[in-house]
């Protein structure tokens, strides 16, 4: 198996398309968006079933990619996170079929 990186971005639902555009522009070959149902962040708390505007909903964007592409995305993601609420973490993983990423 081969080493790749798993980039996980917990971000506001409304800002997710912006994050996804950044990932695409950085050349990542794919990503998947998962819904979240509630969360806590120091002072604020949110829960999906109680805010119809979804304006404080978060989602989780997962993208498995090679180091070069992930790094290319990081600077822009950092800029995005200077405006929008979100948490980015990158972990090392092993994948099958490295050619895909």
């Amino acid at each position: 198996m081969h080493i790749r990186y798993r980039c996980e971005l917990i971000i506001e639902r409304m800002a997710a398309p912006r994050a996804c555009r950044i990932l695409e522009d950085a050349g990542l070959t794919g990503y998947t968006v998962l819904p979240a149902i509630s969360g806590f962040g120091g002072v604020t708390r949110w829960s999906r079933d109680t805010d119809m505007s979804a304006s404080s909903d978060m989602v989780v964007v997962i993208s498995i990619g090679a180091q070069a592409q992930i790094e290319a995305a990081l600077t822009e993601i950092e800029r995005l996170l200077s405006n929008h609420i979100g948490v980015l973490s990158v972990g090392e993983v092993r994948v099958l079929r490295p050619g895909r990423f």
Binding site: M14, P17, D49, T50, M52, S53, S56, H84
Partner: protein, 328 residues
Amino acid sequence: MDIALSTLLSPIVLFFLLGLGAALLRSQMTIPEAFAKGLAIYLMMSIGMKGGVEISKGALGWDAGLVMISAVALSFLLPVIAFSFLRLTTQLDRVDAAATAAHYGSISIVTFVAAGQAVAAAGLEAAGYLVAVAALMEVPAIISALVIANRGHAHREAVAGSDKGELVREVLLNASVVVLLGALVIGWITGEAGMQSVAPFFVAPFQGVLCLFLLDMGLSAGRGLRNGWRQLDAGTIAFGFYMPLISAGLAAGVAALNGMPPGDAALLITLAASASYIAVPAAMRLALPKAKPSVYLTLSLGITFPFNLILGLPLYIWLARMVSPGAA
């Protein structure tokens, strides 16, 4: 007094209070978001169609056109007033104040729907084109607030990853604009005949669906209050109560100038007094991401919405009667 009591004791308001109470007592009950969102679309389709059918019955006159223009102007103006009050009387920074102001210039469809019920219960009639007025008043306030927020930051840098059209699409093509205006046009085209075939779904159960929806609104408002009130200072909380009254006063003036009949006037006043809690919050996350949802949502959903629903509606109907031409 009579109207106030009958509004307060209507199933709609009582179910709202039930939800509010349950949330404040920290009940964990929820109505699934997917279900509530489906109901919201139903409500908007229903009032859109009903409005369109009303319009189809008689030609839209110049009066209606003038009301629409005044309503748009009002929606542009209200955020300026709201912003000034917020900056003078609260600690909110420019961005938070502008975002909050956008909510109060825009409108709440559910408040509008509840006003429609209260107007009918008070024996008044309302013209169909007011649904169009509601849809038209959603957007100008957002533009106004963005201008205010960005004043002096001419060369604001774009948010990373943002896309030219996304804000425009969010503002002009959000669910409530699309469904309200779309259903209005469809009701207009198909008229009474088309309505008849769908009335058992869009007309008869309407009030009942509204009860279920307001139970959910009560839960949301109560939870919003519980989570967010600590982040609001006294001045901000006060704003949630007096701003609707200021807007209502201005709208009453507009209604008087236009010589609107009392039912129509009551709806226009309610629209001005109501504050958005779905469309504008979403737009603000895109346009002013640094503004805090815990401020503007708690205020509009937790304070102004209940205030309008419970105390505001009878007041606005009374006000509408005062300023209407027929009033003695």
